[in-house]
Symmetry: C2
């Protein structure tokens, strides 16, 4: 029974989240009951959705309870098993949370999934071949549903979702334009991720300036947009959407702290007969096998090899998480344990 | 060749539209060429979309050219025909414009349609069994697609679109809640149009007050919404939408004059996984036969018998139109000639 470092939510943010909202504690891992598996985590996934869970307000997901281990996706290996399908050494992915070990009831469907690390690095099951990858797939395939030759745009382009979106859209013959923060990310998007163009939103003080840059990068207008951010970026994209354009709304990170961000010109929804749809990928489990198969193939064939930003040690997870919210990471933000 | 009174767009509105934007002129009706039909208009339809056409800005439809007869739907009778399918006395519906007579090239498909006035009054082909009725049908059936027992809301509930929406939604077993301006319209919606409830938005100074009234009228939340207005009404409805709700955006009348109206809290699209879709019914001609058949049956069986507001004489069309934009009409706004 190894000692288990854990990070709990100690108190809720008043406005901007801080490291003081979290607390590191140490507990013992309990003895296993029948059907349970003890997993040692190698990587913890940090994701923007966690910020929403820290609030007590109405949202699509239940609030993270105070005093409990922060929710989070994990990959690791089985170190003890009382379930016949899992044996010591199996690489597995699950929702182990912000801690070094988790005890999983493996009799629950989908609680723990064995993965193949022959062609796909273990950590990628938290990113390109995990929840972020499937998120990109759902928004692109099920909402935007682009034809070859159409132009699609994604905000937070170099993040785990955005980079998968880029590869999936290129595979469908689209022109893919990213929006990211800073010249380094934009260079990375074009040179390594295969985007046709990438716009640095930090160069643009308002939506009209950003819309002008979008016009240059999207000479035929925008047919599909995957929104990870909201605010000025969505306002600018709306100004360049073509008739019958589709917008998948996956994130509104800019609005989590403080007051809601308005949408400047909703009349464009009517003028351009747009379809806008919000979704969360965990409500669409039926698409995961198809999506993961395509994403795994893109990774195995070298068409999707995004960078990762890896913090060392569970104790550094809160700071890495706050950095993620400010866009300091490049690619998937992980914590290595 | 009778003299033909016509109303042309003389100049474009600077902000609010006025009667001074229009001009009444008299011309001669030309002699008919082969395939042409001369129609004497009995009724002209006045519709909110016309306000958008008066602007020169980018919109879903071409701007109304200056100096030309204002666009508009008309019903009337054939008074002269050089086309074998039409004979003198036939009741017909078309897009004759703001004038007493129109010359129609009947060889063009769908330019002129003969109608049956046995069970449906002629004027209804401009309202409940015309473009407004089909608009309601498309938004309800193709975008909202409600199940029996779901709650649907419509703004401008007593207008031509709203009243048809109410009857169509009741026929599908929905709870139907209207939003309208003033107590008289609300009483009319419930007592005559069959709405389950109707909220007077003039009683509510802000979206939170209106959202509270919606909560009372929609105890199970809102599953579908048909938006004819925008602004505060859409903001309030968004606060009460259920998860996976659908919003059909048909009109943004509140934003036509002056600056765009922002949407207060677009993050709700994500939180409640909403689908929002703008449409204009003339782009969906494939649904018209099915929609008109259902609407005609509802009228013929007495389930849809909305009131009309009828201005007398073409010269009064501009004032009646400006009244429509202010919500002075009850039900379909027509001009009798």
């Amino acid at each position: 029974m190894p000692a288990n470092q854990q990070i709990i939510l100690d108190n809720r943010p008043q406005g901007v989240a801080t490291v003081g909202n979290f607390k590191l504690i140490t507990t013992d891992t309990p003895a296993l009951a029948d059907g349970q598996v003890l997993v040692k985590h190698h990587y913890l996934s940090l994701d923007p959705y966690m910020r929403g869970r820290m609030n007590d307000s109405k949202s699509y997901a239940a609030a993270q309870p105070l005093g409990e281990v922060m929710i989070g996706g994990t990959v690791g290996e089985v170190v003890e098993s009382k379930h016949p399908r899992f044996k010591v050494g199996d690489p597995v992915v699950g929702m182990g949370g912000w801690q070094q070990y988790s005890v999983v009831d493996a009799t629950q469907p989908a609680a723990l999934r064995k993965v193949d690390t022959t062609h796909v690095p273990l950590s990628y099951y938290l990113g390109a071949v995990g929840m972020p990858g499937v998120t990109a797939w759902y928004g692109l395939v099920k909402i935007i549903n682009p034809k070859a030759g159409e132009t699609v745009v994604v905000s937070a382009a170099t993040g785990a979702v955005g980079s998968a979106f880029g590869a999936l859209a290129k595979a469908r013959g689209c022109r893919v334009v990213g929006i990211a923060g800073g010249p380094a990310k934009c260079t990375y998007a074009v040179d390594e991720l295969g985007f046709d163009a990438c716009i640095d939103h930090r160069q643009h003080p308002d939506m009209y300036s950003l819309a002008k840059a979008l016009k240059q990068a999207c000479p035929n207008g925008i047919d599909g947009h995957f929104e990870n951010v909201g605010g000025m970026i969505l306002d600018a994209v709306l100004l360049r959407m073509n008739a019958f354009g589709r917008i998948a709304v996956c994130g509104m990170i800019a609005g989590y702290d403080g007051a809601p961000l308005p949408l400047a010109n909703p009349a464009l929804i009517l003028m351009n007969r747009l379809k806008i749809e919000g979704f969360i990928v965990s409500e669409h489990m039926e698409v995961w096998p198809e999506a993961l198969a395509e994403l795994g193939l893109l990774v195995a064939t070298g068409k999707l090899r995004p960078r990762e930003t890896v913090a060392q040690g569970l104790e550094n997870a809160p700071e890495a998480f706050l950095g993620l919210l400010k866009g300091k990471n490049v690619g998937k933000q992980l914590v290595r344990m």
